[in-house]
Amino acid sequence: MTQHVLLNSVEHKDLKVITERSAKYGDNLWYTVTFPLEFRSVQAHYPIFFHKDAATGQFYAVALFGFSNEDNLFLTDKGWDASYVPLTIRRQPFLIGKQVVREDGIEQEQHVIHIDIDHPRVNKEQGEAVFHPFGGNTDYLDEVGDMLAAIHQGLNDSKVFIDILLEHDLLESFTLDIELDNGEKHQMIGFYTINEEKLNMLEGAVLAKLHQQGYLQAIYMSMASQSNVRGLLDRKNAQHKNR
């Protein structure tokens, strides 16, 4: 179960958050949401695809960690085996919330930090402290704040990016068929990728606009990231061999 509450230094002064990566803390995900502003770091390790949110039908970019539900091939006994962990994983158990405050009689919407106090990472014994013993944010919490701000900005930007992709028919669905060394076959459906044929036919003016917005780079980074499927396959094959 999850229970999201507004983080505050009174009620939550003794809280600690375990930052170790493990299935028991909910890291056994086969993909997570990502966005163009972190594509540069993500594409170095994970394939980037596009996927629809089951609840809204809207597209978002995802970094892929495995080939089936709950199968995260980067998760080892020693933690997460890659130098970059996407922000939407690292933010756990915190999330961004909205609060309406009155400042000089004017109502304003502010972003605030919420925490899922039922999250298995949250406890009072081990991990990173959230607040200093006599009040004040720890560096860890400041880092979390920066992360949440980056995610918020990144997702807003991602929506613009995806709307542009859709406007120019630049997404296409594809089926990823993989065969493991032991003959086992997996078929993954429901993922989308850049339609390279359409991309190559784009007019100069559209390309210039994409370039100015920084999205041309994002498009090419997501395309290049597909070579990481090979790395995922190697990890999967190795996992089978060691069993």
Binding site: A55, T56, G57, L166, D169, E172
Partner: protein, 540 residues
């Protein structure tokens, strides 16, 4: 006669007129939904300012999805603007007398009911599964054995999820819609995006070519229509969408009308709109058709209201009795208010014109023919005729008669099939509560071809081989769903190949698995339509 066909005039708006305008414009004047810089055809629709559209015809077939897509309307806009919902088939209630108990086709209250769904049986068209169901008919209904929509529709579930792209489906579907709003949307789209000209004026006369006319058109063709404000309007091809009046094809060109009342008796209808009890009442996933003593009652669920109507034979009952039965039908929902309803009376001349295309005039919709809406064939025929004109548009007047002949032949086959298929629903009923039902089974009222087919189907399930024309409105599967929904007896085959039996068994198992999975993952019609207001379907 060598002049290219470039100018098309459609007389009459309504869904027929605007669908025709949209399909022809999309085919010839646009590419991928974008208007070409130099449109090939000049398309004008003339609509009278004060002729009300009839406003029934609220059910479509799945063909409407490709029609809308072709015209270039996005599905979310269509659904929200036309107060539309998803239709997965037709449920027939009380078409069989309940004294004959059935373990598989009864509703909880004992009424007989079955679904004619839009999906083909599982395994079709590669594998014909009906013969393998026959030995199991006592255990499971045909619809539940071979498709998922009977169960899905009983829970008012949608045919897709919010993440399914527009016009794609998990289960095949058409729509229930508000016909008036649909016309408006089509009109907006056709005039704004497809450069169809819209003239609002009275057509006062239709003028034929004679010896005195200065024209390339042959004698007997329509030279022009005369309008009150705009004077003469000429065209190479005229499309008659004037409804039952059939002003061009029927009246001016005198194409004979073939009355079918001797086969299908229903010639009257009482129609009414019924509010939901609550804002979030379920929206039915199929049209409900409940048989009465002298006809049947349609019940169509739109997001904001239901459309209900009693269609009946004036030779067997009178308006007052029909009204009483409609009130009785609505009583469980409306309570005492059911006694206050004042439905609209519609008269139907069941039948069609001998041909739909004569000289330089094609009739689309009710101007070509109309029959009781038992299988919602009206809009489907509009789409078929409009598509035929759009895709086979003759290049010149000289080649027009060749195309017309072809289209007329197919038109006749379609009408023959519609009449026989609708008649089938009555012929195999065991109802005996009125002369109406007895008369429907009188041999003299049954087309010979249907009688022959029924004799054949006593010994084998309907198959594609029973229909010699390629382009059929109703596939063999439709006959199977109706026949077996009505507990028609086909002798099971003595010898079924074991390998194929095994294959059929796998399909039956897969169908059961799909039913239970879909019941978990599909939202209700209401929930999906609410979601759509926040996020539309994506294109891909």
């Amino acid at each position: 006669m060598q002049k290219a066909v470039t100018k098309i005039v459609i007389v009459g708006g309504g869904t027929a007129g605007w669908i025709t305008a949209g399909l022809i414009a999309a085919e010839h004047n646009a590419d991928n939904g974008r208007l070409s810089p130099s449109p090939k055809l000049d398309i004008t629709l003339i609509e009278s300012p004060d002729v009300p559209t009839i406003g029934v015809g609220e059910g479509t077939w799945p063909s409407m999805r490709s029609t809308l897509q072709k015209i270039g309307i996005d599905e979310t806009t269509f659904l929200l603007q036309c107060d539309a919902s998803f239709k997965q088939g037709s449920r027939f209630i009380d078409w069989q007398e309940t004294s004959k108990p059935s373990t598989t086709n009864n509703m909880p209250n004992g009424q007989h009911s079955y679904l004619h769904p839009f999906s083909l049986p599982i395994g079709e068209p590669q594998f014909a599964i009906a013969p393998f169901w026959l030995p199991h008919k006592a255990q499971i209904s045909f619809a539940d054995a071979v498709c998922q929509q009977n169960q899905v529709s009983q829970h008012a579930l949608a045919p897709k999820q919010i993440s399914t792209s527009e016009y794609s489906f998990i289960n095949n579907y058409g729509y229930h819609l508000n016909a008036g709003k649909f016309s408006q949307l089509l009109q907006q789209h056709c005039t704004k995006n497809l450069a169809v000209k819209h003239i609002i004026d009275h057509v006062t006369d239709i003028v034929l070519v004679d010896e005195t006319t200065q024209t390339d058109l042959p004698k007997g063709d329509i030279s022009h229509v005369l309008t009150q404000q705009q004077g003469q309007i000429h065209a190479d091809l005229f499309i008659d969408c004037t409804g039952v009046k059939s002003l061009l094809l029927g009246e001016k060109l005198a194409v004979p009308f073939i009355n079918q009342k001797h086969v299908l008796f229903n010639d009257s209808a009482l129609a009414i709109q019924v509010p939901y009890a609550e804002d979030n009442s379920p929206i039915a996933s199929c049209t409900h058709s409940t048989a009465q003593t002298h006809g049947w009652i349609w019940d169509i669920g739109l997001p904001s209201r239901r459309g209900v109507g009693h269609v009946y034979s004036s030779s067997h009952t009178n308006d007052e009795q029909a009204l009483q039965q409609l009130m009785a039908y609505l009583k469980p929902d409306l309570g005492e208010k059911a006694a206050d309803i004042s439905p609209r009376k519609l008269n139907i001349a069941p039948g069609h014109h001998q041909i739909c295309w004569k000289n330089n005039c094609v009739a689309v919709g009710m101007a070509a023919g109309f029959i009781e809406p038992l299988e919602a064939s009206a809009l489907a025929l509009v789409e078929w005729t409009a598509k035929a004109v759009a895709t086979q548009l003759p290049p010149t007047r000289g080649t027009m008669d060749t195309i017309a002949k072809r289209v007329n032949q197919q038109f006749q086959h379609h009408w023959q099939q519609i009449i026989e298929f609708l008649k089938l629903h009555y012929v195999i009923s065991n109802r005996s509560d009125s002369d109406y039902w007895h008369d429907h089974r009188a041999a003299t009222s049954i087309p010979d071809a249907l009688t022959e087919q029924l004799a054949l189907w006593r010994h084998q399930a309907p198959s594609q081989h029973d229909f010699i024309y390629r382009e059929m409105l109703f596939p063999a599967a439709s006959y199977q769903f109706v026949l077996y929904g009505m507990q028609f007896e086909t002798q099971p085959q003595a010898q079924l190949k074991p390998s194929m039996k095994q294959q059929a068994q796998q399909l039956f198992t897969e169908n059961i698995q799909r039913i239970s999975r879909l019941r978990q993952v599909l939202p209700t019609n209401r929930a999906l339509l609410n979601q759509l207001k926040l996020n539309g379907f994506s294109k891909i």
